[in-house]
């Protein structure tokens, strides 16, 4: 082989190797861009012309029993300013200060709650955007639109509105700015009401607007379910107003009322004082309800457990009557106190009043602690008493609308129980019950001994899928005969005291004046529970007034309110009288 040929071969080999190196380099770069960074670059490219929007699901609305809106949604605007943009736009302007002053003056005219000083401070920051107010009213939005001011923009967003203001506020709860339901129905049914957000991905034009005719994909938002409650707005308003008035009149610290359908267990009204306006819930963050123990947002009918006092005597009588251990005419001697042989502290009547020989009906009429303790301690005993407390639903939650206390009592199987607990529980001490639990106990008596499961949501409409709540029997607690006898005893108690009776209707009620250990005897929880009309019960009503000052008794603090509510209910629902009225008797 000649020298030239060898050189040529060598050159070819070098060129070949160089080409190979080049190819390897190119392949390496190709691997880097296409394999290692391919997905990331593809995503960057997509983001340039694809837009992904989250579609908010409209929150479900809440209606009352007549279909009136209790909670709905509206769109309101937040106001934002752009300090940096303003500075850039007016960088070379000689009139910058005067233009800023004019802008701030115009904003302050429309938004008087934002001071001019605050606006000056905001415009002198280096922030891209700053939210100065919101949500603002539709009129303010319109005024700002008409101003056509630069460097100010409105951002619309959905807002939960309660058209009735504080109507049934503690039943409903509220929704926070970020759309989360808290307390009441809003909290309990948050997942159902909130719905499911959707999304929409589409190509965009130069302005970033989605091209709906281009390539698009997405999932539609699933609207929240609409709820219809059993609450009647008119009754709720009447009850709320009457309760607020009574709490003010007797200078009480708080109060609660429950109105329940006697046969179905549906809640017709549920009110608490003090309450709050869910449209401005943040303004009540430091206010307390339920004797100053809990936040005002809690529903006191469900959360404010108390010692029910003498209203509990009906339950004690029910247990003894149902087991055939007493009749309404069984007698006992009541000297005003009762001693126990095992060292249990002596139980006395209120003011140690002695009634002598009295029947069981008279025990309820006199609201005698001695009689109730005698029945529980000497006749029933723990083995026959506590099963009835359990069947009446004490220390059990109902889960009807938001946070709820369970209440508590010590039974003979609990640690620390003493016979003193049994004697005192008979007349409503040493036991904590919620107002709803007490109302349910009276609902059981009114409904012939059958306890219904309480409910407040009547209909759930989940995007066309309608679920209607049917009244549901929880259990039979006492026999129908026991319920009838006890009703007669409660009617006698009502007629004896007369605080709850009114012309034309028979009522069955029991008062309660509960004192709390460690507090002065005049710091009571005055209550009244019962149903009307007694002959064919339609409504169970429980009234509880906490720490009334001008009068401390259940009969005088809660009684007038109970009667007023019962009377209004009979008129509102056109319930025919079951007694000869005064007009008929005069004829």
């Amino acid at each position: 082989m000649s020298t030239d040929l060898r050189r040529a071969r060598k050159r070819q080999m070098i060129i070949f190797l160089l080409v190979c190196c080049g190819m390897v380099t190119l392949l390496a770069r190709l691997y880097y861009w296409q394999i290692l960074r391919g997905q990331q670059l593809a995503r960057y490219a997509s983001e340039e012309h694809l837009q992904n929007q989250v579609l908010n699901a409209p929150r479900g609305v809440i209606y009352d029993a007549h279909g009136h809106l209790l909670a709905t949604n509206v769109v309101r605007d937040d106001v934002y300013v752009e300090p940096v943009q303003f500075a850039t736009d007016h960088q070379y302007s000689e009139n910058r200060e005067s233009e800023l002053a004019l802008l701030i003056h115009m904003l302050h005219e429309v938004l008087p709650e934002v001071s001019e000083d605050k606006l000056y401070r905001i415009f002198n920051t280096n922030l891209q955007t700053y939210r100065i107010a919101g949500p603002i009213s539709p009129q303010q939005s319109q005024q700002l639109h008409q101003l056509h001011v630069q460097d100010v923009f409105l951002e619309p967003h959905p807002v939960r509105i309660y058209p009735g203001g504080d109507l049934a506020a503690q039943v409903l709860g509220y929704v926070t700015f970020d759309g989360k339901g808290l307390y009441g129905i809003e909290g309990q049914y948050d997942a159902l009401l909130a719905g499911k957000p959707g999304n929409f991905t589409a190509e965009t034009d130069l302005n970033g607007n989605p091209l709906t005719v281009g390539v698009s994909s997405g999932q539609p938002a699933l609207n929240g379910a609409n709820l219809t409650l059993t609450v009647d707005s008119n009754v709720q308003y009447m009850v709320q107003e009457a309760l607020a008035d009574m709490v003010k009149r007797v200078q009480a610290s708080s109060g609660t009322v429950i109105v329940m359908d006697a046969h179905s267990g549906a809640i017709v009204a549920m009110a608490g004082v003090p309450s709050f306006d869910p449209n401005r819930y943040w303004a009540y963050s430091d206010q307390m309800g339920c004797l100053g123990d809990e936040s005002v947002y809690f529903n006191p009918a469900l959360y404010c457990a108390y010692e029910p006092g003498s209203t509990m005597k009906a339950v004690t009588m029910a247990a003894a009557l149902d087991q055939g251990l007493i009749t309404p005419n069984t007698t006992l001697n009541d000297p005003g106190y009762i001693n126990f042989h095992d060292g249990t502290p002596t139980v006395t009547n209120w003011s140690r009043e002695a009634y002598g020989t009295e029947t069981m009906t008279q025990v309820l009429e006199h609201s005698a602690n001695v009689g109730a303790a005698y029945v529980a301690y000497n006749i029933l005993g723990p083995q026959r008493y506590y099963p009835y407390l359990e069947r009446f639903g004490f220390a059990q939650i109902s889960q009807i609308a938001g946070p709820e206390a369970t209440g508590s009592y010590r039974s003979n199987t609990s640690s620390g129980w003493t016979p003193s607990d049994l004697a005192r529980q008979a007349f409503g001490q040493s036991i904590l019950a919620t107002p709803l639990q007490m109302a349910l106990a009276y609902q059981t008596i009114a409904n012939g001994g059958v306890m219904m499961r309480p409910y407040i949501v009547a209909v759930v409409n989940d995007n066309g899928r309608v679920m209607t709540t049917q009244p549901q029997v929880k259990q039979r607690v006492i026999s129908a005969e026991t319920a009838r006898l006890l009703t007669d005893m409660l009617v006698s108690a009502a007629n004896y005291n007369k605080q709850a009776t009114f012309p034309g209707y028979s009522v069955a009620v029991k008062t309660g004046t509960a004192t709390t250990q460690g507090l002065p005897i005049d710091q009571t929880e005055a209550s009244m529970a019962g149903f009307v009309p007694a002959s064919n019960p339609r409504f169970v009503i429980l009234v509880k007034i906490d720490r009334p000052q001008t009068t401390i008794y259940g009969s005088t603090a809660a009684g007038p309110l109970w009667r007023s509510i019962a009377q209004q209910l009979m008129l509102y629902y056109n319930v025919p009288p079951d007694l000869p009225s005064s007009l008929e008797s005069t004829n």
Partner: protein
Amino acid sequence: MSSLKDRNITLQKAESRPIRATKRRRQLHLFFFSLGPVALCSISVLLIALMAILYVSQVGQAVASNQKIQQMHAQQMQLQRQNQDLQNSIATEQSPEYIANQAKQQGLVPADANTVQMLVVPHLHRIAQPDENVQP
């Protein structure tokens, strides 16, 4: 055996074949017409231009439609917002508190339940179901 004259004719034919083939290549037949390269190029350019115009027209229509859809969407949102505001206004004015306040402003006072007598008339039957759609 062919004659010398025949062989010459055969050779002439063989020499003329490439010239005809070239001519055939230069004159392509598009459908029924014979087109030269210049005409073919012109037609191609025209077709491409036509397609471009069609494409631009389509894109223009799509953009116009998109703008219209966006306007309608914005209008729909605005109407939804107004509808929600109206529903809220109706609900507010139907609320018991509003009605009670309006009644008080007009000088009405709450009825005293003690003064109301409800009479039960026995053996009465409802005559007819009132038509809920007919306003009194």
